[in-house]
């Protein structure tokens, strides 16, 4: 079954795109898209980068660490932006919590 609904994104969350939301590069229009039921979303560059880092193993804090290092930007500001973007996606129903890793 799908992960819990009403996901609240925090620094410790390990979000991933659910099976029904697919991040894909659209060769025709030269943009990244998220394909979802009856929807095509166009994430911006940063959103794409965040989603590519959300592999189910990294938590949101670690994603912010990576971006802060890469862009030499203040971590707190980046973290707030990342959480806002992911929460927006979660509220639309296009984000799941990664399942606990089986040992």
């Amino acid at each position: 079954m799908a992960g819990p609904r009403n996901i609240s994104i925090s620094e410790a969350s390990r979000p991933v795109l659910p099976r029904h939301a697919k991040l894909r590069y659209d060769e025709t229009r030269k943009v990244w898209v998220i394909l979802a039921p009856e929807r095509v979303l166009a994430p911006d560059e940063i959103a794409v980068e965040v989603l590519q880092l959300c592999n189910g193993e990294r938590n949101v804090g670690e994603v912010a660490d990576q971006l802060a290092a890469k862009y030499a930007a203040p971590r707190e500001a980046i973290l707030a932006d990342v959480i806002a973007m992911l929460q927006d996606l979660a509220d639309k129903g296009f984000l799941a919590e990664a399942r606990e890793k089986t040992p």
Partner: protein
Amino acid sequence: MSDVPLVTPPAASDSLAVLEKSRSTAETFGIPLAVLLEITHRCPLQCPYCSNPIELDRSAKELTTDEWKKVLSELAEIGVLQVHFSGGEPTARKDLVELVKHASDVGLYTNLITSAVLLTREKLGELADAGLCHVQISFQGIEEGLADRVAAYKGGHRKKLEVAKWTRELDLPLTVNAVMHRQNLHQLPEIIQMSIDLDADRLEVANVQYYGWALKNRAALMPTVAQLDECTRTVEDARERLKGRLTIDYVVPDYYALRPKKCMGGWGRQFFNISPAGKVLPCHAAESITGLDFLSVRSNHSIAWIWQNSDAFNRYRGTGWMKEPCKSCEFREIDFGGCRCQAFALTGDAANTDPACALSPLHETIFKQAEAEAEGETNRFLYRNFAGGTLESENGA
């Protein structure tokens, strides 16, 4: 199948815009993001509001497996991202798993729009393995008495509930498609609850649109203004209450509106569908407009060529074809004069303003007629079938 709203955009935010062509002029258009494939008109249900044309394609005319595969490859190649397998009942085709597999192989996102009554758990599993991304199941009501009567299919409602459960057990996302009209609108709150109980991700509250079969059944289906207002309140309340849990798309009937709907995002601008026999159509009701020559994928032309150059697509594309009051209207690029099929059905000329628009000289008459029908006593259905329809018996059996 029921009416299928496509790519209804949620509120766009900065980082996550909805990909919709925000072109400034009406005359330019790109390849649609999603295409509806009506792979058969065969269906075990006989819903009186079916969006298929009155004149249904017989199975002998249907595209073959290889022809559909070629269509799927071509669609992916020209930039279509999603396909909806619909009908009729798409699972009535024995090659559905093969078609879904092929669509996945060429990179298309696949939706199944189904009545569910022909599905087995095994078949659904095969579809999931073939890469199916999303299942949309139509519901006719909340309990079998009404639901099975609307569909004229005994045991249908119970089967739908079962298939919905399997869908979630297979970890496929589920959309409940509830087609609403006067005789079931009172069940909307329970339908919303049912969607939650079934663990659906999305609910489409699709009020019947009145063309083809539904137009023939208008007197039995048209809701009252009061019902519709209540429906809108219920949807708005549920959307707020269930944010992040259940996405609700809402399609209102336009007879009671002041502004017409931007039907299909404008003729030939964002959408086409392919009929069982392979015709490329600007909307699933387009064949109801006589005098237009719709080209088939069996013709010598590519799908992209048909979309861009065929007379049928260019006839009502943009604004050049418009007459008054559309021609000089400030909303002409907002709603493109509403729905061409509805204009044709109600006025006899598809180039007239859709009477759903308050600026149409016929608006008042149509509105009054709808209101009178909604208050009427006619509840008998004319069921959809290949024989041109069968009237429900007096005792509702």
